[in-house]
Symmetry: C2
Subunit: 297 residues, 2 copies
């Protein structure tokens, strides 16, 4: 099954559009225009973590909860938004009260840090696995909204943080979502961002494809502890941001000192002249082999 | 593990209250006051369906999707609201494209019937099980909002539909959520409703307890195809509504002809004088043995 094709089919299937749906399936979060005060839009995204896929049987429950919340916060960050509320569901094969308490306390503590209210959910028994899902709501002023389809030919590519070996280093459990960087940049320097969770090559290609451009990486990729290029491009679970900055704003951004403060790498340039979604790195087209998780948002 | 105590602990754990949280964990849906136009409140609820718990391996995927959506719609209905948007996550052990297409098409068709936009979600692999979750959003004018804590001593108990043998009869897969009845009654005849999903005795007891009253059932319970009293009280998966109507409004309701049109049973009266949550049926206190699914909303 080809993930991106299946997602496109789903987006068609769910194309019933209420007038209040600003952006539906296909970005890091859905965007609703409910006529909130202050020209704010409502954001909504859902994501899950699964035992033996996203964590191991011995991962502490607090870290599982933290990961679940933070990968959702990363989606809201990528839209330029602020997370506000969350709903949790847990399906677990054996209902051990100690484990559940630790998991929920971990979630509560992490939510508190971000001022997110956990407002509901469901806890149920499942025969074998452990699946936890979280739906996050957030808000963004219309002028700050960032979409993956908003990059233009000539825009400069920036990346937060480093890439590769997220599982091996534990980054996938302990990362801090790039909310601060996103909020500093959204609306001022960019309206085009995307969360990197399935691998930089895969997600950068999707970002470029959604914007109808290709991208040339012009620097060595910023890599996490000992990762090589292959790992940086394909490992996934980075929870970093792809950011497209128009050239005139890029000059202002460089002068602002924010790239150093936020740990941004100026990594390349978006261009035309190639099929949309093409990535050129070290003068070669790269093939992405990132993690297929079928569809998301 | 005692479900209701654990839920109370969670509600405490997640008691971080944003000012915009009107009602958090503990009702059929959370209620947010985001200053929407027309004095509308936003509703949000999440629920899941799990193979070998909520359906069997041979249940057609369209019916699984229909059940998942409709049990969430039932939660929005019980608040007096209108469902608007949904986010879906699916965790499944083998990604058979045919099954997934049928499931998603079933969801799309049922969502379309209700004018609900499916705006996002996530599809991922899990080693053994099949878990699908849905978060539903909805709206309700403040004046129509129905809470399980709003019943008063002296209010009349009404029930929609019939109870018991939901699994045996297939009702749990094919039911129509009581959106029409709820919308006809909310704000006009009642501001106290609750969805019955864990068994009438358990949910009626929770409803009465949340309102600080007890309840006396004064009629034979309306029963589904051949169910006995025990089954009607405890089987669960009914997706009917408990409704408390103040006595003066009850007279108007009876005159309106709505009880016949909506299939309501006038089933009893809420009273004081017993510990909150007590249910008297055929002059005896009943013990509820409904389905424990740990927590919900």
């Amino acid at each position: 099954m080809n993930e991106d094709r299946f997602t496109a089919d789903l987006a068609d299937m769910f194309s019933h559009r209420r007038k209040d749906v600003f952006t539906g399936i296909g970005d890091d979060a859905a965007v609703l225009d409910l006529s909130l005060p202050g020209d704010q839009l409502l954001l909504a995204a859902a994501d899950q973590v699964i035992r033996n896929i996203h964590f191991t049987p011995d991962t502490p429950p607090e870290l599982i909860a933290k990961k679940l919340l933070n990968r959702n916060i990363s989606d809201i960050a990528a839209m330029g938004g602020t997370p506000t509320h969350a709903l949790l569901t847990v399906a677990v094969e054996s209902l051990q009260e100690d484990w559940l308490k630790a998991f929920h306390m971990g979630l509560a503590a992490e939510a508190e840090r971000y001022g997110i209210a956990v407002i509901g959910g469901d806890l149920a028994h499942t025969p074998n696995d452990l699946v936890a899902t979280l739906t996050i709501l957030g808000t963004v002023p219309k002028q700050k909204l960032c979409l993956r389809s908003n990059a233009k030919s000539g825009d400069i590519l920036y990346l937060t943080g480093t890439f590769g070996r997220s599982f091996q280093t534990g980054h996938h459990l302990t990362f801090t979502p790039r909310l601060d960087a996103a909020q500093a940049l959204a609306g001022t320097y960019t309206n085009a961002m995307m969360d990197v969770s399935d691998g930089l090559a895969k997600d950068l290609s999707r970002f470029a494809a959604a914007s109808g451009v290709s991208v040339k990486i012009t620097t060595d990729l910023p890599k996490r502890d000992g990762a090589n290029d292959e790992e940086a491009l394909n490992d996934g679970e980075d929870y970093e941001l792809i950011i497209a900055v128009p050239p005139e704003k890029s000059q202002a951004l460089e002068r602002s000192g924010l790239p150093g403060k936020l740990g941004l790498t100026r990594a390349g340039i978006f261009t035309g002249g190639q099929p949309a979604g093409t990535i050129i790195y070290h003068e070669q087209k790269i093939q992405e082999k990132g993690y297929d998780h079928f569809y998301e948002n």
